[in-house]
Amino acid sequence: MSRTAKILSLAFIAFWLLTALAPSLIAPGDPLAINPAQAFQKPGLGHLFGTDESGRDVYTRVVHGARDSLFIGIAATALGMGLAIVLGTAAALSPRWLDEAILRVLEALYAVPSLLMALLIIAFTGPGVGPAIVAVGLSTAPGYARLVRSQIRTLRRSEMLEAATVLGRGPWAKVRNHLVPNALKPLLALVTLGIGQAVIWAAALSFLGLGTPPPAPEWGAMLSAGRTYLHLAWWMSLFPGLAIVVVAAGATLIGRALGGKVKAL
């Protein structure tokens, strides 16, 4: 990664962290403040991104919405990756029959498309932020797990570890000095790519009315509300959507700069 790319990536991450953790610094208003007299204002100086059907400021809501959207995305990815590291490592290091069994479980997880799996889980649990995280996390886990498995298998058979054996390194030194650090780097790239996609899926659930309940500001939920007024107030749909695209595209760019390949998703 070049120096400029590093600085830009860090700036991007810092900006969204700041937005998620301290949204009031960037948008001091109240995202829930209703002002019916100001409903459906076009974007302008008073309201940068316009206002919605209840006169709430869309800019303030987009900024405050970052917290929920990013939290669900990151938490789901963490869950999926955690599960994947356990399953993938187990599969890679296990005898053949257990490896096969784990692969079948992963394939079963794969066979139910992500959003369908999310809906399935919500059918059992009812809607909410928690189920959304579990649903997105579970549906992304098999992809990660396959990568972890192949990564560890490749590394185990690598000349690098062979050379370490020949140099007389013990098993612990090989794992600590070579296996873990070299396996982590592509995972980091993958996690970055994955967060972008997880944010999209999480927003999709809210859009369908199954994630964050209204009136809390969340990008997917805002888009769902905006759809009703599409012909009246395009800005209600445009800006939350752009926020999702910027986060997802930024995550993809950083992930690719870290050497990630979309193939692995």
């Binding site: 690598s158 000349e159 690098m160 050379a163 020949v166 140099l167 000095n177």
Partner: protein
Amino acid sequence: MNQPVIAVENLRVSFGGTTAVDGVSFTLHAGRALALVGESGSGKSVTARSLLGLSGGRAAADALEICGQDARDLSDGQWRQIRGTRISMILQDALMALDPLRPVGREIGDALKAHGSAPASARRAQVIDALAAVRVPEPERRARQRSTELSGGMRQRALIAQALIGDPQVVIADEATTALDSQLTALVLSQLRDIKEQGRAVLMISHDLAQVAQLADDIAVMRQGKIVEFGPAIEVLGSPQHEYTKTLLQAVPSGVPRFSSLSPGSAVPQCPARPNTTSAALRVNSLSKSFGGHPAVQDVSFELPRGKTLGIVGESGSGKTTTARMVLGIERPDSGTVELLGQGFVPQRESARRELRRQMGAIYQNPLGSFDPRYSVSQLLTDALSQGRTKRSSQYRDEVARLLEQVELDPALGGRNPVELSGGQRQRLAIARALAAKPAVLILDEPVSALDVSVQATVLDLLDRIQLETGTSYLFISHDLSVIEHMSDAVAVMYQGRIVEQGPTEQIFGDPQQDYTKQLLSAMPRLR
């Protein structure tokens, strides 16, 4: 003499701002072979590709005539008329030069499809004929197979058939024998000789003077985009005029006695009395190993005396590398033992022999894969010196510097990542890392096979010097007979998993007893 089929005058090719070919001129006549010899980056391949209009850069020349036609300002459509029918090319690696996803018959037939519109059945018949002409058995069946399904020899023949089917007057062989073992090399060389005798002109691109000597009528030595010496093969090889040609010739190891320098700059110290011990550094007793029922190594035994070199030579698939891996304790043998300095090393629990491992180092053909990609040069050496405890302690700085000096690497390279080093530098680094533990034995598996001749010469000289200075024993594995002859005190010849003959180097090379050894030696290209 009649008109040349190719006449090039002052050819220049550049990529962006860098000049790859800088004023090259030569002529080539029908029924003759010209060799362009040089090392990687000398511009020889770019020169050859310019003759097909495929240099990929900006090419210009004062004259560029192909079969009497001025080819300087041809459109791509006009070039396509020439390619395949007047001039064609055999590329280096048959596995990569034939699309692995398509049957070879289709690949060969594409050359016909590109020119004219013969009906499919006629094309198929022609493809079969072309395969039969290069002596491919069962050409109908082979034509339907993909290159990955063919044996190495079959693949090479298919590649040659592909170049000949359009009946070209000129055939370019771009490193067509590089990386092939000696029997395949002999096969390709004899095919090229046939092509020459059919009255076609052959332009041979190679880095290997000994191979070139088998075929070429004329030799042009290239360096940094220029032809530095040009003349009849006998003169260039017999009485070279240019310094660089002399360096290249000196670098060819075949027939050069042990510890004689192959490279100009390096002084191998004159033989101090080498320890004439009979005690074995390494003793291997009847190692055997099968993979899925197929025996890879059978009953291999040898002894490596202290301070000496044992060469193991054989073709690919002969079991050399499996033997090396068993000796190193990476592959577990089905039966047999290995003793290192009189102590049992194989079979043995890993924890029990870890201490003994410091006495044995390994050098691979491609050292890059054996380095952790996150480590810099000095970190790799610090890691080796500290036995894996640290990679950045300053405590080892002096020792790292001493190791770098020992393998003649610039200390300034310490902060670099091995990816940024040249092939020769990487191999030196691998040697330095192996030497960190002051081992008694080095296992060298094809250590110079991926290097240019002159770089190979410097690495071999370095290995010589280190052996004289430290008394390290070498188990030297190679498919290259001339390297083995130059480096070894004793030689073991492997064939189909067995050692068919072993003995002192002079005896094996001077008076071979077994048929296989004789066959192998007769295929060996020689300069001297």
